[in-house]
């Protein structure tokens, strides 16, 4: 009987851990709604249906492709430890063992798949924001499907699947690089291939194209922050009280400090408290802490968040200067701060050290080079085959009419 009890005790722990991982999955899921509302909020009303469509179908595409190939590429098993590529065969499925602590003491095979699948789709969503208001729907969907199915899992495997970055000692707790920069690099290539929106940079002037709904943008950011409880908290991969609660504290402190950093920077430099900068600041704090959320103490978390908040404002202004048109600031939030967050593991916290910094740098580089090449090639092929951009007329009238033949707000008068 004593043996039974011991068993039950460890089963209980398994049940608790798995419960937390399922809840974390639900929280990461809701990030997709966060991305959707943030992105429509920061773009024009005439492209709203288009953006919502993309963001509603991306999680669907992400989850399905991940079930067919992505999960098998990303977690090919221990045979591929230290490698750069592995594949465990198409589809998902498990045996009885996969549903017990023998698979992993933190979660079942199914939970594992779903948690990872929700993550995967976020990488494509990041791209969506940067290329919004001018990309062809069909092209974007093909890009996303291939990107989520192949590119994301490959670099993911390098670290989380036990590949060469892992062996090298690279650290990326919940994916400043593996999720955010991965999306960010693909977005950067997309922005370069597409060019800016019509009228954004005319006659050497930067023209503001204001987002059409600040409440939607705010809803988006709060849902993302909420989702990050699962994104970072779930990345502990168990419900371990000490670790998860620390991670939630560092995550929230960094988000808060990011808000304050961006607010102050915007107020001082731009002379106005710009709400979109505040929102980008919160996200920057979150992305910044993501790589080392379990390594920092409160003060370090605040510092990382605060710096991220400053960086993001500068970065938004910088990309506008060099005429890379990113309607929602995705490049700044996910790519630039994603890199900073990854490097921050070598600067702050338990692992800080020049050695680690160097390893972090190499990781950033490896992922950056691979994703840039992969996504450039893909954008290029799509440009030649399907075409990347909608027609000029369609862009002026809005993609909602052009691509979908409908309006997002048919009951309301539009201002110009």
């Amino acid at each position: 009987m004593s043996h039974d009890v011991v068993n039950s005790v460890s089963n209980n722990l398994f049940t608790i851990n798995n419960l937390w991982m399922m809840i974390a999955t639900a929280l990461v899921f809701i990030m997709h709604l966060g991305f959707a509302t943030l992105e429509v909020g920061l773009t024009q009303s005439k492209n709203t249906v288009n953006i919502l469509f993309k963001n509603s179908v991306i999680p669907a595409i992400g989850i399905i492709t991940y079930s067919i190939i992505g999960f098998d590429l990303m977690y090919p098993g221990s045979d591929f430890a230290g490698k750069i590529f592995g594949f465990s065969g198409f589809g998902i499925g498990t045996n009885a063992m996969g549903l017990t602590a023998k698979y992993n003491q933190g979660y079942t095979y199914w939970t594992d798949f779903l948690f990872q699948g929700m993550f995967a789709a976020t990488a494509a969503t990041i791209v969506s924001g940067a290329v919004a208001e001018r990309i062809k729907l069909s092209t974007f969907l093909v890009f996303s499907a291939i990107f989520v199915a192949i590119a994301y899992p490959i670099t993911g495997m390098w670290k989380w699947g036990g590949g060469f970055l892992d062996t090298m000692g690279f650290y990326d707790f919940a994916g400043s690089t593996l999720v955010h920069s991965v999306g960010g690099w693909a977005a950067l290539m997309g922005v370069i291939f597409l060019g800016p929106r019509l009228g954004k940079y005319k006659k050497n002037r930067i023209n503001a194209i204001p987002g059409h709904s600040m409440p939607l943008a705010v809803i988006g950011v709060f849902l993302l922050w909420l989702g990050w409880f699962g994104f970072n908290g779930g990345s502990v991969l168990s419900a371990d009280p000490a670790e998860v609660s620390l991670v939630l504290v560092t995550t929230s402190l960094a988000a808060s400090a990011g808000a304050i950093g961006a607010m102050l920077t915007s107020w001082v430099i731009l002379k106005t408290p710009d709400i979109t900068m505040l929102l980008n600041g919160i996200l920057a704090g979150l992305v910044g802490i993501t790589a080392g959320a379990d390594l920092m103490n409160p003060v370090e978390a605040i510092m990382i968040g605060f710096i991220s908040g400053i960086i993001v404002v500068g970065s938004v202004l910088f990309f506008d200067k060099i005429k890379l048109d990113d309607p929602v600031g995705a490049l700044s939030v996910h790519l630039v701060v994603g890199i900073f967050g990854t490097l921050a593991v070598g600067i702050f916290g338990e692992k800080a050290g020049i050695n680690q910094l160097w390893i972090q740098f190499k990781g950033v580089l490896a992922v950056g080079v691979f994703i840039s090449i992969f996504s450039s090639a893909l954008w290029f092929i799509l440009k030649k085959s399907m075409g990347l951009r909608v027609t000029e007329e369609e862009e002026l009238d809005g993609l909602d009419i052009g691509e979908h033949g409908m309006e997002a707000y048919p009951d309301f008068e539009k201002a110009v």
């Binding site: 930067i206 023209n207 503001a208 194209i209 204001p210 987002g211 430099i269 731009l270 002379k271 106005t272 710009d274 979109t276 900068m277 938004v316 202004l317 506008d320 600031g329 201002a415």
Partner: protein
Amino acid sequence: MKKIEAIIRPSKLDDLYTELRTSGFSGITVTEVRGYGTQKGHKEKYRGTEHNLDFVHKVKVELVCPDNKIEEAIRIIIEKNKTGKVGDGKIFVVPVETAIRIRTEESGESIV
């Protein structure tokens, strides 16, 4: 019969309308417009870039009235809208040849 078109500040509409009613004017038609003029709109800024410099929210009040009430109408409009600050707006008077009440098919000055 003439039509008065007054471009005024939105915040003045309520008082103007109340006064016109009290003075026996039977109806007006109001449109939201954007005014570009001497008065400049607020500097708006979005993510570091200025825009929308010159445009101001205004409302256009259209009032058709018999020739003999034009003076009074203009007086009321000036009275209720004059603050002396740039942006008080303009009044334009346009000739109207016919006015018809759809409900009764009556026409002429009597219906306005």
